[in-house]
């Protein structure tokens, strides 16, 4: 398995308000496999993905990506993990507001070992004409390709 999750547990809150969101999840995903996680609101979908992405620290359990255990890694190691192994597409409007569209793409390009040229990428995605605009100037749908192009 490329991704192996074993007995993953995560809770939020303290004392009486403590809520167990992930209750010992065990699953796996093969390399090249596409899977969909579905469930009602509040069931723990985002929490599960956040834990895999190294954005949340689980209470218990193990997550191995490409054979590498990521639970217990330091913040910098998790950053490296996200940089090298993952790509994110956010549900919501998550661009750096002070940077242009091109510069938001370059934020990711700067980290990549083999980056795609921002100009070519924008042409491919049909957003070249908005390259010098700021996120606040974009319409609701126009920012989606920008977020996709930021993914490595």
């Amino acid at each position: 398995m490329f991704l192996e999750v074993e007995n993953l547990t995560k809770s939020y809150g303290q004392g009486e308000s403590r809520a167990k969101v992930l209750k010992g999840i065990t699953t796996g995903v093969e390399q090249g496999e596409m899977c969909v996680i579905q469930g009602p609101s509040g069931s723990g979908k985002s929490t599960f993905l956040n834990c895999i992405g190294g954005l949340e620290i689980p209470d218990d359990g193990s997550i191995r990506v490409n054979g590498r255990e990521i639970v217990g890694l330091s913040q910098d190691k998790l950053s490296d993990y996200r940089r090298d192994e993952l790509g994110f597409i956010f549900q919501f409007y998550n661009l750096v507001p002070d940077l242009t569209v091109r510069e938001n793409i370059e934020v990711c390009e700067f980290l990549s070992e083999h980056p795609l040229e921002a100009g070519d990428l924008m042409e491919t995605l049909g957003i070249a004409e908005i390259g010098d605009k700021f996120p606040a100037q974009l319409s609701g749908g126009a920012d989606r390709p920008v977020r996709r192009s930021g993914t490595r």
């Binding site: 190294g54 954005l55 910098d76 090298d84 993952l86 919501f92 998550n94 510069e103 370059e106 700021f134």
Partner: protein, 727 residues
């Protein structure tokens, strides 16, 4: 609803307790400085004035050479001038100091005892407060005065000796060397007859004007009208001097009485002028202006001391004043209590109004406004550089606020530093510019200049500085004087002024300087030919012959002698002797006096500087927390994030400091004359460039410390922060 919102306030406070604490400390320090400054000054002014009135401070005093008769005193009283004899004798005290002994007063300049009681028996004494403190004396101790033992019954102060100096020419209070004491009339008489006094008795009369239509000049005229027989004076030096002067005048009269001149009209007129002057020499000794309480309080105020209690401690440690009960002043309380929240309300009103004027959608989208320079096309610059420029433009307002904060804090720093620098210059320059070892000021100059001395003619005039009349010495000398490195021009018009005077009054070469002779009610205007480096005092040098002529003195008249070694001059003929060693000592006292204020202000201003920097940089980091979180998700390491979001601030801070330091220095230098407007000293505020370098280094060091603190803040920003953003 209010309850719900209040919970939010508390949560906010808990979350950002560090920043709110820093802000709180900043406000406390700022208000503390202002309130303590004002409070101390107001308490000292009002307290000493109140005590002065309570203790019936004199309106003035005069000295005579013979005791006035009762009928003369009654005549003055009938005219509405209350007079009290305040004769004194100076005695050596057991430790080597000098005690000025007075009879206890009954009507004017009353003695107030802080502790104990007034002297009741012949062997009892009330000693002056500061003298007792520095000599570590207490009530019940015995003290030797003129070989006679007294028991101290009280610790006292008197309004005429709040600045307990022995002579008006003394530049500093030295309570180790001089103090006053008050005894019973019987004890005073006993000490007078003991013959152990240092000098002859001084006949001082203090007066208060009860008829408000009278002026001090009226009093002077009334006293000067009394006939005076100089031969009845007890001061032998005065008598010798008078004989000398009379001899000269008589010689002229005899000459004028020469039968060959009897028909000469000019000779007759000259004779008529001279004769009355010989017999009306009541106030012949050069009178010293009585600068007591007003100047003292003004001096204290001028140094802008801090801390009500602390500053009042500084007052008590130098001046001899009774304990002043702390008083609260409504306007100061209002300032301290009302001003900070008022400013907060005003600022909040502007900020909230601005926010409320935004559209709801704009606020929903984070409420981040476009900065006009944000659209700048940055072309082919590298990513990091472009990123930093965007951030700079984003945080420009905060950066400018930080620069203003730096400027204001640095002004506080320079207030303290300028004070230290000025005092230090006074200390070092006074010694460096004093080329003589001794300066002898004469009461009764001899005909012949003592061997080894250089004679000059000195007259005290005045020049106004921001409403205060400061003494300026007009010194008649010639170019042969080895003690002043000046070429004194011939003629009456051109003069050389000291560098101290040039600095204080901002006078340049070629400009006109006007001096006032307050006694003669006359003004003298001179043109400044050059400026001589001389820090110890305000001096105007002119040709001695011209000066003698100007003031109708004999062609060989002098009243001050400078020398390299100690001269054998009878002390009875002298008003005072000032040595270079004393000048050096005065400089040290000056610096020590201001040291505590300088240290306190420096510490407080450094703390304010630190807090301002911390708050401003903290605000910049807070505003970037969303961005930082996003960068962490994307995969930026902590070091890379610090480089993007923190290290760029260094250029802000460095640039802001480079601008703020000289600007703050110039501002304070321009304001400093107002702070010390009634202090007669040089005002050299120049500093070594190393001071500026040192300040810059300290501020950058503060920046790095704050940076280290903020790194921890950045590290605490979690990647999940950005996921809380919902549209």
């Amino acid at each position: 609803m209010q309850k719900v919102l209040r919970k939010r306030v508390l949560r906010n406070l808990r979350k950002r307790w560090g920043r709110y604490l820093a802000l709180c400390v900043l406000v406390i320090l700022g208000v503390y400085l202002v309130v303590s400054l004002l409070g101390a000054a107001q308490n000292v002014i009002d307290g000493t004035a109140e005590h002065a009135q309570l203790n019936r401070i004199e309106d003035g005093e005069w000295e005579t050479f013979i005791v006035l008769r009762q009928d003369q005193l009654q005549e003055l009283s009938d005219r509405g001038i209350e007079v009290e004899e305040q004769f004194y004798l100076d005695f050596p005290e057991g430790s080597g100091a000098t005690i000025r002994l007075f009879k206890d007063r009954g009507a004017i300049n009353l003695v107030e005892t802080d502790e104990g009681r007034k002297a009741g028996a012949e062997d009892e004494i009330v000693l002056e407060k500061r003298f007792m403190e520095v000599h570590e004396l207490k009530i019940g101790d015995a003290v030797q005065i003129g070989g006679t033992e007294f028991t101290i019954t009280g610790i006292g102060t008197s309004p005429d000796y709040e600045s307990p100096i022995r002579k008006m020419s003394d530049s500093i209070v030295d309570s180790m060397q001089f103090g006053t004491g008050f005894v019973t009339p019987e004890a005073y008489q006993y000490m007078k007859e003991s013959g152990t006094s240092i000098e002859s008795e001084k006949y001082i009369y203090a007066y208060r004007i009860s008829d408000k239509t009278l002026t001090n000049d009226d009093v002077r005229e009334a006293v000067e009208a009394f006939p005076f027989n100089w031969e009845k004076a007890e001061d032998p030096y005065f008598k010798a001097y008078m004989k000398q002067c009379i001899g000269d005048a008589q010689m002229i009269i005899d000459l004028l009485d020469n039968p060959l001149l009897s028909g000469d009209e000019d000779a007759r007129k000259l004779r008529e002028q001279i004769m009355p002057n010989i017999h009306n020499l009541q106030m012949f000794v050069p009178r010293e202006d009585n600068m007591r309480i007003g100047g003292v309080i003004g001096t204290i105020l001028a140094y802008t001391p801090i801390g009500v209690v602390y500053q009042m401690m500084d007052t008590y440690l130098y001046y001899s004043v009774p304990v002043i009960p702390m008083r609260q002043y409504a306007y100061i309380l209002i300032y301290g209590l009302v001003m900070p929240p008022l400013i907060a309300v005003i600022v909040n009103t502007f900020v909230i109004r601005k926010k409320l004027s935004c559209t709801a959608l704009f606020l929903l989208r984070g409420g981040r406004k476009e900065v006009s320079g944000k659209r700048l096309n940055l072309g082919k610059l590298g990513f990091i550089t472009r990123f930093r420029i965007r951030r700079t433009l984003r945080e420009l307002r905060a950066a400018l606020t930080m620069a203003v904060g730096l400027y204001v804090s640095l002004m506080l720093v320079f207030m303290a530093v300028d004070c230290y620098v000025m005092c230090n210059h006074v200390k070092t320059d006074n010694v460096a510019d004093t080329h003589y070892e001794y300066m002898y000021l004469y009461k009764y100059p001899d005909r012949k200049v003592p061997e080894g001395g250089t004679a000059c003619f000195a007259k005290t005039l005045n020049k106004e500085s921001f409403g205060y009349n400061l003494d300026v010495t007009l010194l008649g000398t010639d170019t042969e004087n080895p003690y002043f490195d000046a070429v004194v021009p011939k003629g009456r018009k051109d003069v050389v002024i000291s560098s101290a005077m040039a600095q204080k009054y901002g006078i340049k070469e070629g400009e006109t300087v006007i001096l006032e002779d307050r006694e003669a009610e006359q003004y003298y205007a001179f043109r400044v030919d050059s400026i001589v480096q001389y820090a110890p005092g305000f001096m105007v040098l002119m040709d001695i012959d011209e000066m003698r002529d100007m003031f109708d003195e004999d062609e060989d008249y002098y009243n001050v002698v400078y020398s390299d070694q100690e001269l054998d001059i009878d002390p009875g003929k002298l008003m005072s002797v000032i040595s270079k060693a004393q000048i050096e000592q005065a400089g040290h006292v000056f610096v020590n006096l201001m040291a505590s204020m300088v240290y306190t202000m420096s510490a407080v201003s450094a703390f304010i500087l630190f807090v301002v920097l911390y708050l401003m940089m903290g605000v910049m980091v807070d505003r970037a927390s969303y961005d930082i979180s996003l960068m962490k998700i994307i995969g930026y390491r902590r070091k890379e994030i610090r480089k993007l979001y923190l290290n760029g601030n260094m250029y802000f801070v460095a640039a802001g400091t480079l601008v703020a330091i000289p600007l703050a220095k110039r501002t304070i230098d321009a304001l400093y004359p107002y702070f010390i407007s009634n202090v007669a000293c040089a005002m050299d505020l120049s500093m070594s460039p190393l001071v500026y370098v040192g300040l810059f280094a300290i501020i950058m060091a503060m920046y790095f410390v704050i940076n280290a603190l903020l790194v921890r803040k950045i590290d605490k920003v979690t990647p999940a922060e950005v996921l809380k953003n919902r549209e």
